[in-house]
Amino acid sequence: MSDLTTSAPAAAPKPRNQWLDVWAQFRTHKGAVLGLGFLAFITLFAALGPTLWGVDPGDLDIRNKDVRPIYHMLFDSDAKVSWAHPMGTDNLGRDIMANIMQGGRISLAVGWTAMILAVFIGTLVGVLAGYFRKADGLLMRFTDLVLALPLLPLLLVMMLLFRDPLRAAFGPENGIFILIVVGIGITSWMQTARIVRGDIMALKEREFVLAARSIGTPSRRIITRHLLPNVLSPIMVSATLGLATAIITESALSFLGLGFPSDFPTWGKILFDSVDRMTAFPERVIWPGLAISLTVLAVNYIGDGLRDALDPKIRGL
């Protein structure tokens, strides 16, 4: 972007586009660019993969069970490998690559949606409680209440009350998806809320907020222009950690029989199901484990890069 700005020195000093600056700064963060690249790759892999690969992840082929990934040929020429299954097959002969792709769709969708929901609720509650003293007591006691609720019975009750209506309204898969996303979302916003509230309480007594208030800036603008940008970094951390938690929580839910039907692969579930055979078939834990870890790592670096890019001091303004 820098050459774009320098190539037109003769032009009138037009105000530079803020977002272009942000992008320019973001690009200097190597980790962030790599992270973005990986995230784009894994998203495309999951979104387009199943169409290109064309193997149904649920297809059983019991004669071709326990096929090893193709690279096993390199060090073990007797290994049972097949080009039809480059990542191998599981104990029922399901293609692992197709499962990782399909699982990625669900895991990423659940992870992102649940995380965004949790961060949104958490930030909203945190800002309101931190800024408006009157709301603080009630909102924070409510947060205490939700923190105290045992997760398992809560989800069971949600299942009981909403599964059939949602199934009727959105179909079996979407109904369960909504239920899981909402279930994870509404049980994981509390930490964000308390952190944001703590920071807001400290920030709103700072000079720049007092100054803004004294010139009559309305509360809404103080919050959006002055407070929110300053609590962005803990929110970013919450979001990164939240994404990992959501993906893993989903697998814990399927384990408890509260998640997707068993013929729906997700990264967490593939990992969980493969732990018993970890020593014999390490690839079955490595692929989903890598997918989860690298996605979380990528999001973390993007968060880092974004924070730096959005910080006017670093951008040198």
């Binding site: 649920g58 297809d59 059983l60 019991i62 326990d66 104990n91 029922l92 399901r94 069971l156 299942m159 009981l160 059939d164 009727a168 079996p172 384990f255 408890l256 029989g257 509260l258 039907p261 068993s262 013929d263 199901d273 732990v275 018993d276 055979r277 020593t279 014999a280």
Partner: protein, 574 residues
């Protein structure tokens, strides 16, 4: 030549004698040291009358003993009793209404006091107390009176003739308690006696020294055990918790434990663990059958709760016997066994797979998968894919099946396999798995219990205690169907109803002759399975446990507690 063979035989016998002796312990109590047992479900309580859970019953069976137990062949062997009373030896009256047991002479409780008939009388009173909530009450079905004829003689009188009078105080579920210890714990006061419930005084080979609920039990040899040379182990640690994989690993791979109970793991996982060479998996068969139950009533959510899944609304397609039969024919049971149970499973078409006298051995028609036959059968019955969506239909009803089961790795594999098999005959399946605490919970408010059966088919396993299937088969009579009026309780979850079946059950309840009982039971079994396909048995599930190679004397028993002969276990010298 002959002489030579004989001599060689003798030599072989001599050579093997020391080995044979090595297979027995040296006959000194406590000489084998310490025994470590792991149960991946941790015992909560050591009083089997207050908890029917298998883990609790098995843990208490090394402390408390009944009059008689089933051995590994399913035959009764006397424990506290001198012998097994029968009509032939006069112990059971001709009219089958009384049974008289005689205690062994000189029996002592672990605290040194004598065991008397009064203890047995008290145990009956304890369990039959109306406010006690005794888990083993059904063992006392039909008991009118239990009396002590003298110090060693117990007479049990039944209200009606009992073809199988070996319910009360027989088998691991129904042992004898010490009257002195539990005297103040009758009825509603049962839970107040924590010390007694956690450390019952028994006659078994071991005595509790420390009990931590849901965690660990420490035991030591009973100084007053009736056989002075047993048990071989001086102390026992009985650890609970974790999962089956971890328990298997602790015995087979790390050797930290000597015995692991009920390794419900895929066969390839057990095999790879056993390859480490520290221990041996053992398996045995009982009466546990994994089956698919067909819902004969309509579970559609569009129906009002009063009639949904009740006899008022017949199932739109499963009420057609041809559909049920085709679904059964499409299943490759051998494949299921191979994937899920290995050596611990056998494909079966029977609801009652044993004991031999009750097993319908000629019912083997379902063992071979027959996709073509199933397709032909459905075509013939008018179930064809008329709208070209890949799913068979008839009169606007599509063969869409909701298939539910409890959450468990093997069951989910089975679901996937069966879905695939049914796919091949044009039947679409939606899978659902439910947490077992909900599925088996029986909460009438929940839509997900197996009794309520708000699905088309469901899969689980069931068995019966001991060796007599009468009560088990009687569960499928018309009035045992769960419905709103019974708070959705009842064993007949298919809502199967056939007056001929009910009549035959009544006949079984009156029949004493063992061969005749076998014939009737087999007929009942066939009515439910091959004749009507209401129940589709899949696998006769054995039990797999594992013991360390250095632990001797283990005989796996599926008819009673696995720890039935723990007194005979010993450490094999290196």
């Amino acid at each position: 030549m002959k002489l030579k063979t004989a001599l060689m035989g003798a030599a072989a016998a001599v050579a093997f004698t020391p080995l044979a002796f090595a297979q027995e312990h040296d006959g000194v109590r406590g000489s084998s040291g310490h025994l470590n047992i792991i149960y991946w479900q941790a015992p909560s309580i050591l009083n089997p009358f207050l908890s029917g859970g298998t883990k609790d019953v098995e843990a208490s069976s090394i402390i408390l003993e009944p009059l008689a137990r089933y051995d590994n062949t399913g035959a009764l062997v006397p424990y506290l009793a001198e012998d097994i009373p029968t009509v032939a030896n006069g112990g059971v009256s001709e009219d089958l209404t009384t049974i008289t047991w005689t205690l062994k002479e000189g029996l002592l409780w672990s605290d040194g006091t004598p065991v008397t008939a009064a203890d047995a009388v008290f145990t009956a009173e304890y369990c039959m107390h109306p406010e006690g909530g005794c888990a083993q009450l059904s063992k006392y079905n039909g008991v009118e009176n239990v009396e002590a004829v003298d110090d060693r003689t117990i007479r049990i009188t039944f209200a009606t003739p009992q073809p199988n009078p070996y319910g009360p105080m027989v088998g691991g579920q129904s042992p004898i308690l010490q009257a002195a210890q539990f005297a103040d714990c009758l009825g509603a006061r049962a839970p107040e006696c924590t010390d007694a419930n956690f450390g019952p005084i028994g006659t078994g080979p071991f005595v509790v020294t420390d009990f931590r609920t849901n965690d660990v039990i420490q035991l030591e040899a009973n100084p007053n055990y009736r056989d002075a040379s047993k048990p071989a182990f001086a102390t026992v640690t009985f650890k609970g918790g974790g999962d089956a994989t971890a328990a298997g690993r602790a015995v087979l791979e790390t050797g930290e434990f000597d015995y692991a109970w009920n390794l419900q793991l895929a066969p390839d996982v057990i095999q790879s663990m056993a390859a480490a060479g520290m221990g041996t998996p053992v398996s045995a068969f009982g009466t546990l059958v994994e089956r698919i139950e067909m819902n004969l009533t309509n579970p559609s959510p569009d129906l009002p709760p009063e009639t949904r899944s009740t006899a008022a609304e017949p199932h739109p397609f499963l009420s057609d016997e041809n559909v049920r039969r085709a679904l059964s024919m499409a299943i490759d049971r051998e494949l299921l066994v191979e994937v899920g149970y290995g050596q611990a499973g056998r494909a079966t078409c029977n609801l009652v797979p044993g004991p031999e006298i009750y097993a319908s051995l000629d019912n083997t028609g379902c063992l071979v998968q027959d996709i073509d036959g199933a397709n032909a059968l459905l075509n013939e019955a008018g179930w064809i894919d008329s709208n070209g969506n890949g799913i068979r239909d008839k009169d606007g009803v599509e063969l869409n099946i909701l298939f539910q089961t409890s959450t468990n790795a093997v069951r989910q594999d089975f679901q996937a396999l069966i879905k695939d098999m049914w796919d091949q005959i044009g039947v679409e399946t939606e899978l659902r798995n439910i947490d077992s605490s909900v599925f088996f919970g029986g909460d009438p408010g929940s839509p997900d219990t197996f009794e309520k059966f708000y699905a088309d088919v469901e899969m689980y396993a069931n068995n019966f205690d001991g060796t007599d299937p009468q009560a088990y088969l009687a569960g499928y009579t018309c009035e045992k169907a769960p419905r709103p009026e019974t708070q959705w309780q009842g064993e007949n979850i298919n809502r199967f109803c056939d007056p001929a079946y009910d009549a035959l059950v009544a006949e079984l309840q009156q029949t004493a002759d063992i061969d005749e009982r076998g014939r009737i039971a087999r007929q009942l079994n066939d009515m439910l399975t091959k004749d009507s396909m209401v129940i589709v048995p899949l696998v006769d599930r054995g039990r797999v446990s594992a013991h360390a190679n250095s632990l001797g004397g283990v005989v796996l028993n599926t008819w009673d507690s696995e720890l039935w002969n723990v007194a005979d276990w010993f450490r094999i010298a290196e």
